[in-house]
């Protein structure tokens, strides 16, 4: 490395001493003193070896409850030849951890895994070089176990070699990594690192964080957001209405309204009591007229994929079906509403929050606070499971604004109605599919038209201060705000295929963002029902029909695995049983941006009450090499249960003014008594690249549920959630 590069790195890393032999304490002190991201081309950015022969891995992915922090350590332990007890990671922090991008798209293992593995391999190579020198034994004769390098009776530990000193080795990515057949920790069912503390009540969630001389803050907004772009305008605030609440103060910046108090309960009471007159608006269509407005809107058309000649093929095929889908806005609704603590000074800010992306949050906070990015530090504290872009940025901004005005650190805990009412909802969707098969049962044409709007680019807090609203534009978001090539017919070999987005404006609808497996449940609900219709029309078992039309062995693998687990038996006619309870079984395929998901569902439908009970869900996931099968099985179970919840119950409701589903009564989710049995199946592929596993079986499960409903009732649903009233209406229409 040239001296120039070297000095640049030290400047960027904030070390106060130029040189190659920094002492232990100095390293501990300098890490974290200067704004990151640290130089990703240095091994020291990624890991440190301590004198006690343990290692710290600096990972840029957040533990969201999905277990990724454990799995990433498994990868590092494997490559370094360390025991899991010898390795740990640290809190995400813009002054400490590398920028690996956000923790979304199930990317922790898919994108982060190879980075951690290659960094660990490079460190191991350097350690072996040092050991060879120290022991005067060639590298080829050395072996490592638990961080002890040895050859015969000669031995030296990693800790003795570098103990808390810098590696000063460039991360070139060129060090050879282990072969999958040599993995010892990867592929094992290692216990989650975070669970012991979570179970003892010792884990520090964001909601637990308290700092000295801090105030408690609450936002004051209408209960339920209004149309994105319409804002929520304050007509008047009567500050005397909270005179009786000790120490409570109003904070206002345009329409951003909040209260702070020394005592949390006083802040809650003040927020409740503050008399505010909001300007009436009626910019929303209301949930009843939503799909009409979407379907009739002026849209921007965008052909996602086109091959062959769909029009001609549809016109000449002997079997043609069509399927509609109307899918609601759904909420992240994290179980603990988001929380943040901010300490904003005139020249710097420290913000603790539950963001999925500390560096992106730092950027938006800096803009809002009008501070240089380098003077804003963001630290990650785990909250409750977020499943995408819930209100973590919004609450961080709210806390920062309040702290900037109050001149003291402020902790803001969103109330349940803030989180439910002001979420970045998973967008609503209108889908219309036409598909055709020839007489032999081969799918020959497929066309999907999808209507939806994109994600919002401005958080509610910023929006209320007067920041302009816009669409969320980011490279990562490309391709996930519209039709998904993999789930919309991509499972099958189809010669003539056309996917068209009808992109709606983001304003005059609800604020939106990425929600676990964005839009895929909606796509699969439409697409896989159309495929099922073709199978039924041709009197071919739906599993067999799919097999005939799949060329990809990975899709076949998950289809077979789900069918096998469920003991699928050929089935070509609906089982309309006598009596009020009818049972059905369905199968489906789908995914998010990668990996392969297959599912089978068993449902009961009460034709008198319209109640749908999902009895059992089988979910098979091929995510390549699965680092920790127990964690992925847990992820599959969670995906299946959450999909059941979203297909049966979840729907954001709103009138023309604003959102009306603002708690667990108005936005119910699945409970214990209605929870299906679940069977997770990991299709382990040791020699394939690891891919996402946190959201890739939901689309398949959604499809399987819809197809099982048809199998039970002979009726195709065109809208979800499958609520009793909607089901009864559909059964009645069908006669």
């Amino acid at each position: 490395m040239s001296p120039l590069v070297r000095r640049d790195f030290l400047k960027a890393g904030g070390a106060m001493v130029i040189g190659f032999s920094l002492r232990d304490e100095l390293i501990a002190q300098t890490r974290g003193t200067v704004a990151g991201p640290p130089d990703a081309r240095q091994i020291d950015t990624w890991l440190a070896i301590h004198a006690d022969n343990t290692a710290t891995v600096y990972v840029g992915f957040a533990e969201l409850g999905q277990g990724a922090s454990t799995a990433l350590l498994q990868i590092a332990a494997d490559e370094l030849d360390l025991d899991m007890s010898q390795i740990k990671s640290v809190r995400l922090d813009t002054n400490v951890t590398p920028n690996q991008g956000g923790t979304y798209s199930s990317a922790s293992i898919a994108r982060g895994g190879p980075q951690v593995r290659t960094a660990a391999a490079e460190a191991r190579l350097a350690l072996l070089g040092m050991a060879a020198k120290r022991l005067s034994i060639p590298v080829e004769r050395l072996s490592v176990a638990k961080g002890v390098v040895s050859a015969g009776s000669s031995r030296v530990t990693y800790g003795e070699l570098v103990g808390d000193r810098r590696f000063d080795v460039a991360f070139t990515g060129s060090a050879p990594v282990k072969k999958p057949s040599d993995y010892k920790v990867v592929g094992e069912r290692v216990s989650r690192r975070d669970l012991a503390d979570k179970i003892r009540g010792a884990h520090v969630y964001m909601q637990h964080v308290r700092v000295d001389s801090m105030l408690h803050g609450r936002v004051v907004r209408p209960r339920g957001q209004r149309a994105y772009g319409a804002g929520a305008r304050v007509v008047s605030v009567d500050e005397s209405s909270i005179r009786g609440v000790s120490g409570a103060k109003v904070i206002r910046r345009n329409d951003f309204l909040a209260v702070v108090a020394d005592n949390e309960w006083d802040a809650v009471r003040a927020a409740r009591q503050l008399a505010v007159k909001w300007e009436p608006t009626s910019a929303l269509p209301g949930s009843d007229r939503l799909y009409e407005r979407m379907r009739a809107a002026n849209t921007t058309e965008e052909v996602v994929t086109e091959r062959g000649s769909v029009g001609t093929a549809l016109a000449s095929a002997p079997h043609v079906v069509s399927q509609k889908a109307r899918a609601p806005y759904q909420a992240h609704a994290p179980f603990g509403p988001n929380c943040a603590v901010a300490d904003v000074k005139s020249d710097s800010a420290l913000v603790m929050c539950s963001t999925q992306d500390v560096y992106a949050t730092r950027r938006t906070l800096a803009a809002l606070l009008k501070l240089p990015e380098k003077d804003v530090r963001v630290q990650y504290y785990e909250g409750s499971g977020t499943y995408g872009h819930s209100c973590y940025d919004d609450v961080a901004q709210a806390a920062a604004l309040m702290s900037q005005d109050a001149g003291r650190p402020v902790r803001v805990q969103f109330m349940r109605w803030d989180e439910h009412g002001w979420d970045n909802f998973g967008p609503a969707h209108v889908g219309e599919v036409r598909a055709a098969a020839d007489a032999s049962g081969k799918i020959v044409a497929y066309e999907y038209h999808g209507w939806q709007h994109g994600w919002s680019g401005t958080e509610a807090s910023a929006q209320l201060t007067g920041a302009p609203v816009g669409e969320f534009i980011a490279a990562q978001a490309m391709g996930v705000q519209g039709l998904n090539r993999l789930t919309c017919g991509g499972q099958y070999q189809i010669a003539n295929l056309r996917l068209v987005n009808h992109k709606l404006p983001v304003t005059e609808y609800l604020k939106a963002g990425w929600l676990r497996s964005p839009l895929d449940l909606s796509f699969a609900f439409a697409s896989e029902q159309a495929i099922d219709q073709l199978a039924r029309l041709l009197k071919i078992d739906p599993y067999e029909f799919r097999k005939r039309n799949i060329a990809d062995e990975r899709w076949l693998g998950v289809l077979d695995a789900a069918a096998k687990a469920a003991h699928w038996t050929p089935n070509t006619a609906t089982k309309r049983a006598d009596g009020k309870l009818v049972s059905g079984r369905g199968i489906g395929l789908g995914t998010h941006l990668q990996s392969w998901g297959g599912a089978v569902a068993d449902v009961d439908v009460n034709v008198e009450t319209g109640r749908v009970a999902i009895k059992h869900l089988y979910g098979a996931l091929d995510a390549g090499l699965v680092v920790n099968p127990a964690i992925v099985e847990s992820q599959i179970r969670g995906q299946l249960v959450q999909t059941a919840s979203r297909m049966l119950l979840e729907e954001v409701t709103f009138d023309t003014t604003g959102v009306t589903s603002v708690d667990w009564r108005s936005y119910p989710i699945l409970r214990f008594e209605d929870c299906p049995d679940v069977t997770p199946i990991v299709v382990q592929r040791i020699n394939e690249r690891s891919l996402g596993a946190g959201e890739e079986v939901m689309a398949a499960a959604a499809a399987a549920i819809a197809n099982a409903f048809f199998d039970a009732t002979g009726v195709r649903m065109e809208q979800f959630p499958l609520t009793p009233s909607r089901v009864l209406a559909a059964l009645k229409r069908a006669g």
Binding site: G65, G201, P337, S384, V641, F672, C675
Partner: protein
């Protein structure tokens, strides 16, 4: 005002109408009970008051004065007292079972899940699945780990034998 939490008596300064949750979180700095809805709809703030599961987010601290409050942190002590054990175990069997099943994902709802399951097993040491589902039905889990919780409660019941 004085309250008894996990066998220890505390003098607290909060106003008497303050929900118990805020007192436990802010004055006692306990991490077990936690805010979820403030509406008694979800169960994340659950504690035992004289052995009965209550939602601390809607229980004024004054209503808990003079009673025995047990939080997640105190479940092992409470279990030892109820079962007349000479030694307080490190974990309540429900907690032990949750670890063995590796049940949680984010774990935020598990305070309420474990408090409720401990209450259930104290009244019905051998619940069947339907009884577990029914007893736990007022507790929500957004991660969808219900099947693992049901298994863990069954396992805890076995550990208690």
């Amino acid at each position: 005002m004085q309250i008894k939490v996990n066998d220890k008596t505390w003098t607290v300064a909060s106003a008497s109408d303050t929900p118990l949750l805020y007192v436990l979180s802010n004055e006692l700095q306990l991490h077990g009970p936690r805010f979820g809805c403030g509406l008694a709809q979800c169960g994340s703030c659950s504690v035992l008051i004289d052995g009965v599961e209550k939602r601390s987010c809607v229980t004024p601290v004054s209503a808990a004065a003079g009673k025995s409050i047990t939080t997640l942190e105190g479940l092992p002590i409470w279990y030892a007292a109820v079962r007349r054990l000479s030694v307080v175990p490190e974990l309540h069997p429900v907690q032990q079972a949750m670890v063995e099943e590796q049940a949680p994902q984010c774990g935020y709802c598990y305070n309420g899940m474990m408090v409720k399951a401990a209450e259930l097993l104290s009244k019905n040491p051998r619940p069947d699945d339907a009884q577990i589902r029914s007893a736990m039905n007022g507790h929500l889990c957004r991660c969808g780990t219900y099947p693992s919780i049901i298994r863990a409660v069954r396992r805890a019941s076995e550990l208690m034998r």
